[in-house]
């Protein structure tokens, strides 16, 4: 088996992975970085993010405001020391991106422009038209080319971590185009593999968002934290799941039901006018908006479309000029996929799984429970999102904590002992055997059947509103699916670019992550943020559940669930208040 030596191995070359790689290269150009990604970097799902990235810039804004918005947005499940670190570094990191060429949208005077976003009291979302993730990713990828110490391994699929003596020692990955399995030796590994939205039937995510890194760390003993918190983005195209950015609502878009009524005012987010207004109505937090949709659907007030139930996102009053300037991609998407021109017609939208708040437990340094192993981005739970993420905090997270991960991994490498190649090779051999077993299995179950069953049960039992019975059924179904998975077979027996085999491995990752999500969910007997129950646990219970859930891998069954305290410093849990008077958004602030 080919052995590749590196100082830091990074799995995932999206926004977080690339930022980490650059951070290692800048910290110490003498360190070899192996940047391993199952897709070419510009395909990473960061590219699909639209709305923006948060960072305090306005004189009348403050870090405390960003802190308060984030902590209350997260329903007080955020680790406040980490949130403090986060908000105080966002602006610097985004300025760094600007220096690297990111084409942020500007005010007439040439300064970076900011717009209003859901759950934020004051405008602080930097944006690059409605393709912020695209521009951030391409800026990071193109900048990473400057650093010779970053060696990319494009289209290498991570099959496992190597851990020994209680620390990480490397990664085993398959070169997709030859099927060759290779061992990467590294004293430090950074996991930046993204979220796991593809475990659900309807999601805004790309094919690659399958929780790979989460599952790898989990299997090696790192707990997955707060997995029950899955965000439904309120506005995505029905069935297709293509994301329609929150930025539409930041520019003044409204949501109406089949009677043309702005229904959000019935759910504690009103009054409807004046509009636009921060933290009110359509600019409330995502969990509340998605929950409102579910309620409207129950009442029969949603719109019937050929692609399912929806509500209408009306942007017509924004006018053609503003739509084409600020939201050009949305106009293209609506036209392309729905045949709707937002200048003349409202866009049918519905809540769709979008983001995984939970992930590998880390903290402000991005270190996981396993020495030498770091996790950053959507695959991690560093403590800033809590029970519900605010829009535009995720892109900022990539660069703030990407820098942390790279810096800390580089530091760790300096004093870490050499890796044990003998043990690593042996473990790599075991990995090869496991993959071989799937690859060579003659007859077995079809992948898609198991995957679709998983997606359906997650949608049914772990959706916007949950019951103990529904969640338990999902847990049981997942356990049965894991059994069926042991007999999964792939028809494609080739080695060159065998994507069916990769999908089979990804399904294994997804089943583990889904089980962690469902088990954590059924055990949280309260409602908080995006985890809402309608079976007697409708209220938030700060007495018993103001704590993070931790799912620990159990090779013979469902994960063991434990809990840990939330780090609360200065913001005590209070009611989440949206709507009310708020501040009207001045038109001139966002020219």
């Amino acid at each position: 088996m080919e052995v590749i030596s590196a100082d830091v191995a990074i799995i995932g070359a999206g926004g977080a992975g690339l930022r980490s790689a650059i951070a290692v290269a800048e910290a110490d150009p003498g360190l070899k970085v192996a940047l391993i990604s199952k897709v070419y970097p510009m395909r990473s799902h960061t590219v699909a993010a639209e709305g923006g990235s948060a960072g305090v810039v306005q004189d009348h804004d403050s870090l405390d405001n960003h802190f308060d918005d984030t902590v209350s947005g997260g329903d007080w499940l955020c680790d406040q020391d980490t949130v403090d670190y986060f908000v105080s570094h966002c602006t610097r990191e985004m300025t760094q991106l600007e220096h690297w060429g990111c084409p942020w949208s500007r005010k007439p005077d040439g300064h970076v422009n900011v717009r209003a976003f859901g759950g934020m009291k004051i405008e602080r979302t930097w944006f690059a038209a409605d393709k912020t993730g695209f521009h951030m990713l391409h800026t990071l990828f193109q900048t990473s080319i400057k650093f010779p110490s970053i060696q990319r391994f494009d289209e290498y699929f991570a099959l496992d971590l190597i851990t020994d003596e209680g620390r990480v020692q490397g990664v085993v990955a398959m070169e997709i185009r030859t099927g060759a399995v290779k061992l990467f030796l590294a004293k430090s590994v950074i996991i930046a593999t993204g979220g796991a939205g593809r475990v659900y039937q309807y999601n805004t995510n790309g094919a690659i968002v399958t929780g790979d890194g989460m599952s790898l760390a989990y299997r090696h003993g790192a707990p997955l934290r707060d997995m029950e918190f899955v965000q439904y983005h309120p506005t995505a195209l029905p069935r297709i799941g293509v994301l329609i950015t929150e930025g539409c609502r930041g520019e003044g878009g409204i949501l109406v039901n089949k009677d043309g009524y702005r229904y959000l005012q019935d759910y504690g987010l009103g009054p409807p006018d004046p509009w636009p207004r921060k933290k009110a109505m359509e600019l409330g937090p995502r969990d509340r908006l998605s929950q409102a949709f579910w309620q409207e659907e129950q009442k029969g007030r949603t719109v019937e479309t050929p692609l399912g139930q929806a509500v209408l996102l009306d942007l017509r009053h924004l006018g053609e000029k503003k739509l084409h300037e600020r939201l050009p991609m949305i106009c293209e998407l609506a036209e392309s996929y729905m045949g709707v021109d937002p200048v003349h017609e409202p866009i049918p939208v519905r809540p769709t799984v979008h983001y995984t708040m939970g992930g590998i437990r880390t903290g402000v340094t991005t270190a996981t429970d396993i020495p030498g192993l770091y996790a950053v981005g959507e695959c991690s739970s560093c403590g800033i999102h809590g029970a519900n993420r605010l829009g535009s905090n995720s892109l900022a997270e990539l660069v703030v904590f990407g820098k942390q991960a790279g810096s800390h991994a580089a530091e760790y490498v300096k004093s870490a002992r050499a890796v044990n190649e003998g043990t690593a090779s042996k473990q790599a051999g075991d990995v090869l055997r496991r993959v071989k077993a799937i690859a060579e299995r003659e007859k077995g179950e079809r992948l898609a059947n198991i995957r679709n069953a998983m997606a359906e049960t997650m949608e049914a039992g772990c959706g916007i509103y949950r019951t103990g019975e529904g969640m338990q059924e999902t847990c049981d179904t997942l356990a049965a699916l894991k059994e069926r998975y042991k007999g999964v077979a792939v028809g494609d027996k080739s080695r060159v670019f065998n994507t069916e085999l990769l999908y089979a491995v990804e399904l294994g990752y997804m089943l583990e992550v889904a089980e962690a999500m469902a088990t954590s969910a059924v055990n949280r007997r309260e409602s908080r943020g995006s985890h809402q129950r309608i079976d007697g646990y409708e209220k938030r219970d700060d007495q018993d559940f103001l704590k993070h859930s931790l799912a620990y891998y159990n090779p013979s069954g469902a994960p063991r669930i434990d809990y840990e305290a939330v780090n609360i410093t200065r913001s005590q849990p209070a009611d989440r208040v949206y709507g009310g008077e708020g501040d009207k958004i001045k038109e001139t602030a966002n020219v």
Binding site: E98, R177, G206, A207, L333, D492
Partner: protein, 258 residues
Amino acid sequence: MSEQQSDQQTIQIEILRYRPETDHEPVWQSYTVPFDPATSVLEGLTYIKDHLDGSVSFRWSCRMAVCGSCGMQINGEPKLACQTFLREFHPGKVRIEALANFAIERDLVVVMDDFLEKLTAIKPYVIRDQDKPLEEGEYLQTPAEQVPYMQYSQCINCMLCYSACPQYALNQEFTGPAALALAHRYNMDSRDQGVDQRMEILNMEEGVWGCTAVGACSEVCPKGVHPAAAIQQSKILGTLDYTKMNALRKFILPKGAR
């Protein structure tokens, strides 16, 4: 793909298969796929892979025409599979093959190494003599200053332009539309000072001078990047450089960042 209705429409999809371990050359294979008005070619392909033939390999991810993975020849035209709809071809057949002008690795997957090399070679990053400290904030750049380069920053690296370009078809040394457009994107960014460093690769025979303004690249670009325009503009910059008339460049190039 949702469950079929009773009068489910179907369409024939033909895919040019190639499995290097067993095939001497590519061969067409046909599949019958159900569809409705909203079904994209990509969804047709995932249906085939999930239910009919798991061995068809293709790249895809975002499903919303921003990741650039799913470029392929669909009925002879380079297109993004996620943005092309089966309804457009019905009742005719849909013939899908790997992106033209690239070697086929496997089925609909092409070898992208050459493209990545060229993208890298044009120095696609901000080059400055001195970077100001982050504490001093952002470089000022007015909306007017963004106009000269913004269009060329929209490239999703889908390579449809390389598939359409007859110069690239005939000569693989040609740097190609996307790479040249990206170089121009940086040359025209007021924060960049690297035009001289990119000039050598631009002014080569295989650089902008390999382009004869066919314009097919801009025709097929799904993002309106208009690489042809970037290249023609680069030819003027290149000419001024070659004839040592760089003083005239100030009429074209943006001011350095303030």
